[in-house]
Symmetry: C2
Subunit: 172 residues, 2 copies
């Protein structure tokens, strides 16, 4: 959580509420931020001196968090360490799928395929949006890797979809 927040704050200062929304629309497909983890994380980061927090003048009930140099340094450190495995719960479930009766299995596979198709469509919309913005020169900074991740996401979802299709064909 901490590094997600730091990464988002590198772009611009934001409130906790804005952070959640931003996370949801940008990396929501593979990261979910709940307030119960977000606000404690903000406090943590502030105590560590990695971020600072400004109370807003006009809106009493609003605080804006901004990143500190120490926070940026910590973020860049994290960014460059190699990742170890992340849990792939979907794969875990499929691993045990032989234990499921065939009709339920079929049903779940179909549902999963539907979900994947929706997610693919969603990503394609995001991609189109991005291309639009690019043509209108609306973006100040270059974020090539966000586009790379988008492409990866599409390929990744497509592979899973094809994989399920294949299984469904072979199954009955």
């Amino acid at each position: 959580m901490d590094f997600v927040i730091l990464g988002m704050l590198l772009e611009r200062p934001m409130s906790g509420y804005e952070l959640k929304k931003t996370v949801d629309v940008t990396i929501g497909l593979f990261y979910k931020a709940s307030y119960g983890s977000l606000y404690p994380a903000l406090k943590r980061l502030e105590n560590r001196g990695w971020i600072g927090v400004n109370e807003s003048d006009n809106q009493k009930n609003k605080k804006t968090a901004y990143i500190q140099p120490e926070g940026k340094a910590a973020f860049l450190d994290w960014l460059q360490i190699p990742t170890q495995l992340s849990r792939k719960e979907q794969m875990l479930r499929f691993f045990f799928f032989d234990y499921l009766d065939q009709p339920t299995r079929q049903k779940r596979l179909t549902e999963r395929a539907d979900t994947l198709r929706k997610e693919i469509k969603q990503l394609e919309r995001v991609e189109a949006d991005l291309a639009d913005k690019f043509h209108n020169r609306e973006q100040a900074t270059n974020h090539n890797y966000r586009i790379h991740v988008l492409h990866y996401g599409l390929q990744y979802l497509t592979v899973e979809l094809n994989w399920i299709q294949q299984i469904r064909e072979d199954e009955p």
Copy 2:
């Protein structure tokens, strides 16, 4: 963790130690079980009545866990609910990769590619092993989905590898 244990115990009764080894060699690529999570989980499952535990007669220091009908029922319930997203930490990192300086980035990408190649080789070995066992009719039960997951794993890793290769070519 709980459902991993239950799934493994469906095959045969095992000790905690055996469970860890089995998890490592079967789903180790996407799931890591530490004793600190495994043993408490076993206790949890026993308290819930989902598994039973036998103290061994000959080896004092050994306990064997076996699955109970309630445990099997709970496992099958879990198996058929649709999964929500799992965190993809690697993707998270890549999402922010624009903030990394080019040389470090290049280095990390190369390292990741190497890791992927190793993982692919490892999976291919597992696949060959499985094919061997199949020909020698060593397997009692059919585990088609484990083979499916294996194939998926290979495709998945290959997609990421190609993706990185593409980026590395475009980058400098």
